[in-house]
Symmetry: C2
Subunit: 237 residues, 2 copies
DNA sequence: GGCTGCCAACTGCTATGGCAGTTGTCCATG
DNA sequence: CATGGACAACTGCCATAGCAGTTGGCAGCC
């Protein structure tokens, strides 16, 4: 991604071409730096020093830190300092389960209101996934997977959902970043699940789409080592 | 929550309500004002004028507005203004479904890690609910209900969950505020559901607890008129 | 040596001022 | 009367400066 490759704990100054507000740019940059591991957990962050590193004032930095705090990515003790939050394996698992639930409702909503154009678009993405799976092109698959979920999120038209899932997917990247190299994902299985989800979307069956999406996310978390294998069979109400 | 029990000669810690940052106080105040209807949807908010109303600087106000924007309660068009977000019935329903899902995972997590003390506490709350239901004391019931869910949220120990559910419950209050007076809730049914949830917690059955909690929230949303009655029977995967 | 108290160097937090866009109004012009 | 353009009054956004706690270390005393 754009996050400049720098020494551990150091942040490169912001480019000034963009039209986004400095606070917004600082927010994204910091979030990226955290999930990429540039700012490791427990690392102390000073509003002032970070401001001079980014080449901006302390104000937008502070604003970004407040938002990151609301995301749970940093914690700040008043008048004492701000620290990158520790996210242990247990918490990563919890966040994964939360994400699975939210992706589920997102898919349910999408199944209800998705227009024909979006369905065609997601079908196209599915085709790319098929090709990527046969070619074992994990990079292309990752990109397609990103678009796949992003499209569903956008289809819901729900801002809260999109924001929350955005934060949670960031954590997901962090988890994958930790399990470095050891991602022996079961590609065909993921493809089949994606197909099933798209089928449910086409059938406009919210409950089915939700169940399949949730199962898909949970299973992928298990194969990624974020979650332990399910202890038992599923439970019925 | 009176003065902490301390040994002779020891001094109890100071209350910390007084020392909250202005930004934090502005955030809470604004959020409260929005969900209470004091600041109706579409109302324009100016950082400066709001600052003088609150008797503080524009900075903390801006900070609070950014956080509210992340919550989805206000939207701000750059260099044009900030307005409190429109939350129509449809969106309210979506947020309700999201909340149901999150309350579900929260309860699942709680079922896994709740200590004996918390279980005893929630059993006590349940007893109060029983009494309140028999006495038709809706005020006491609302209070107990609040504590009931708050206790579960806290039991998860998950900050992200607690923050998200905090925002979503605010929306819930807003929804109830709109359906003024017309809350003919089915009290005994809610009580039975709460009992079932506590039973699942005691059995430490996460899947069961989750399903029951989710169903409970969804049903209560339906009886409150936030969600339409379910169109069909539940679906199996 | 070990403890106490002070001081400088931090920290987050807030106030003030000013910049650059946006909008609405009012007057001059066709 | 209708139209267009400039000006004033907004807006959000950012930089600077200074306040008030917190911390760490170092001198001075027991």
């Amino acid at each position: 991604m754009a996050a400049a490759k720098t020494a551990r704990g150091r942040i490169a100054p912001l480019a000034e071409e963009d039209t986004l507000s400095l606070g917004e740019r600082a927010y994204r940059r910091l979030r990226e730096s955290i999930v990429q591991g540039v700012l490791p957990a427990g690392h102390k962050i000073s509003e002032r020093s970070l401001a001079v590193e980014l080449g901006i004032s302390a104000q937008p930095v502070r604003e970004a830190l407040r938002r990151l705090e609301q995301d749970g990515m940093v914690v700040t003790l008043p008048r004492r300092g701000t620290v990158v939050a520790e996210v242990g394996p247990a918490q990563l698992g919890e966040l994964g389960r939360i994400r699975a639930a939210l992706e589920g409702v997102a898919t349910a909503l999408a199944a209800e209101r998705m227009d024909a154009g979006s369905i065609a678009a997601i079908a196209a993405i599915l085709k790319r996934m098929q090709a990527g799976t046969e070619a074992r092109d994990t990079d292309a698959l990752d990109e397609a997977n990103e678009e796949f979920h992003a499209l569903i999120h956008r289809a819901t038209g729900n801002l809260f959902l999109m924001r929350s899932l955005g934060s949670l997917r960031a954590y997901d990247n962090l988890g994958r970043h930790r399990a470095v190299g050891s991602t022996p994902r079961d590609l065909p299985k993921a493809l089949a699940e994606h197909k099933g989800i798209v089928a449910a979307l086409k059938k406009r069956d919210p409950a089915l789409a939700e169940a399949r999406m949730r199962h898909h996310v949970l299973r992928s978390l298990v194969t990624n080592g974020v979650l332990p294998p399910p202890p038992r069979k599923e439970r019925r109400t």
